[in-house]
Symmetry: C2
Amino acid sequence: MTSRPLDYDNLNDNVKKCQYAVRGELYLRASELQKEGKKIIFTNVGNPHALGQKPLTFPRQVVALCQAPFLLDDPNVGLLFPADAIAKAKHYLAMAPGGLGAYSDSRGIPGVRKEVAEFIERRDGYPSDPELIFLTDGASKGVMQILNATIRGQSDGILVPVPQYPLYSATISLLGGSLVPYYLEETANWGLDVENLRQSVQQARYKGITVRAMVIINPGNPTGQCLSEANLKDVLRFCYQENLALLADEVYQQNIYQDERPFISARKVMMDMGPPLSKELQLVSFHTVSKGYWGECGQRGGYFEMTNLHPKAVEEIYKVASIALSPNVPAQIFMGLMVNPPKPGDISYEQYIRESKGILESLRKRAHIMTDGFNSCRNVVCNFTEGAMYSFPQIRLPPKAIEAAKAAGKVPDVFYCLKLLEATGISTVPGSGFGQKEGVFHLRTTILPAEEDMPAIMASFKKFNDEFMEQYEDHRGYSRM
Amino acid sequence: MTSRPLDYDNLNDNVKKCQYAVRGELYLRASELQKEGKKIIFTNVGNPHALGQKPLTFPRQVVALCQAPFLLDDPNVGLLFPADAIAKAKHYLAMAPGGLGAYSDSRGIPGVRKEVAEFIERRDGYPSDPELIFLTDGASKGVMQILNATIRGQSDGILVPVPQYPLYSATISLLGGSLVPYYLEETANWGLDVENLRQSVQQARYKGITVRAMVIINPGNPTGQCLSEANLKDVLRFCYQENLALLADEVYQQNIYQDERPFISARKVMMDMGPPLSKELQLVSFHTVSKGYWGECGQRGGYFEMTNLHPKAVEEIYKVASIALSPNVPAQIFMGLMVNPPKPGDISYEQYIRESKGILESLRKRAHIMTDGFNSCRNVVCNFTEGAMYSFPQIRLPPKAIEAAKAAGKVPDVFYCLKLLEATGISTVPGSGFGQKEGVFHLRTTILPAEEDMPAIMASFKKFNDEFMEQYEDHRGYSRM
């Protein structure tokens, strides 16, 4: 048979080159094992409901009513739904002519975008313009849209933290651009050093790359750190000086597990800094209904807000969004509900607060159990998860383990994670999927398994790890201090 | 201020180049007029619910229950939901661990993909493999995924019908590929001529373009024709001879308004033709929950099925799909329900049949009212809408109208459609947005306004058109016969 257009060899090279480890080799192997009947704990992806987190009741009631608007005319509706959910469903249906089955404007329903703008204003203390807010099918789709508008070819570079969430590396590959890495400092709790940034940009320019934008993930994925205001100021000043757009991935802004550094948005810090920076620096911020205490991943809802973009550029981004017609409408309602939840005095307020606080407090406990668990293991060191949903322990692999990996044709951390999976059913992502310094190894796991299961999972991890180390260690020292 | 990364001038040229007329100048002007209080009839996009079509009751009941699974434990649930909807909700929730709030596999929920495969087998009489079926956020997203895998650069060409649905031209521009047009013959009821195809491919090759795939839209958008089995055989043979993959956009397969040529899938015809073609030709077929009698556009649900793709190529497409994690889960349930609707004997069967038949019969009547209406207008000729959701009349613009358009700096059909919009509130899309032969002008309108409103809309159109022609005609003949 001749070589055909959709044969592997003939596919777009950018498609073949891109890597997305969160659903890579480890995930595929875990899926296989699950099919064979093994119990798998999927901690490879921040997917809270899949690990048993219950959805918040109120938003589900509202969206269920929006899906079945004929229930609103049923005299029995009050037996199943509280009055404020009924009122909210009517509120959103009035905004969405044709209901959930009609395409909305490609930027999303105007009324929901207005609620997002009001949320941003309450959060940051500065007004926000709904015309510069686009709703998306999850934050990832928004990031892809903005990178697509930004990247013109191979010599366009995007500054991305290492370790990073591989959405960035994969999308940059797919779009044929260049990833310009900047390293986060593990020993400084994954802090960000401007001197380091400057060097990365210089090195890239030396190679002929035009650095166009910088990505920050705050709170960090996979690293879990929360950026301080001072750190954000440094980043903003740096972007301004170097004429970079800043892409602020702030999808974990509700997920904070310490009190010293509450979440502060890049936009607020930028506005606080005043002109010329606040008037000129181009910033795009991303948010989602998938994370926080919502965890509504499967709904695929998100938004991005653009600051200091000219209407002509916004129009281009709008045009491209319109090719796929509209983000899914049910998730737009979830986004409206997330930024405009029940208020004190509403029938559902107490329940909403109880449920959301419960989730967040439990996540905080789990972050501690997990960090402490990892730090109790042989050759494992782990920074505390200050925010987001992940733990990213460093695994100090002995030279003999690295040799064994090589012999098996595996990257060392992939080798370790596969063994972990086979032994315990815990499905993680090797650090190499996120980027790490040469010769240093990690894994990423979510902190999402149910709180009551956590001690057993960490005990199972410790047993595996310590036996692994026993097997491969030469008892003369660590592979790396 | 210096030129900044996200200023218009610095954006990706492919983004700037792409055009998407369905939500282009006409739509933007219509949105403005609506804001100013004018009543607009949005017939620019196939968005049935926005024009008053009621959703089918049963699928909405099922998805509402899936959104609010706690209702399943409520003793009153039977007062609002029929037992078969409750059973179906349990059926789908059992397939989706974590429910609608959890990311599914990036290809979609395995159980739903199995139901899609069973539907294809019932429809075509040949088995279908769920592993080769990917669920998507609407068919458009699927088309974009496949074109992205196919197009490697500017010298890769995709054969696209003219007139075409601009998803194709826009996506090919965005991906930096080349559109290779083949013309549909208006006087032969938008038929497709293989000789014409062959010429298009030869011309493209002469320019150094590698033609990689051919798109068919059946039933046609914007042209409304239904391809015959003989025509499909010609196309398949042609693709096989020329080593092209066939991309079959079959999203309107439920929308058929004549009895001579029922829908027949490209896959069935290909399988009927037997080897080597049935074993070798690479085919990707697209479907959706947005069209048919469902019209669930806002849910964003679709699938594509790949035939004769090697697992290694499928893996690459899977990998790229996984970057955005998963298609939205509620729409996956809609897809399951669409391919596996209530059966005779089910409580909801009668209602489901009544509702779906009602919609389809009304669409058939509207197709006739509209075609007849257009053909009663001065200088307008229109083929009957055999299928899909559109009417695509040719508007024979007098030379004076063409001059007036030029003077106003507008493409002639844009000029006409803008005048139509201002005079009547009818928001259409100029034929130039879909492609047409040089000097020939059209517009596209959906056949979706409510049946009872149709006579008034067509009267309003006729009044505008005939006055327009009166104004611009020199009373010595048409601009074109």
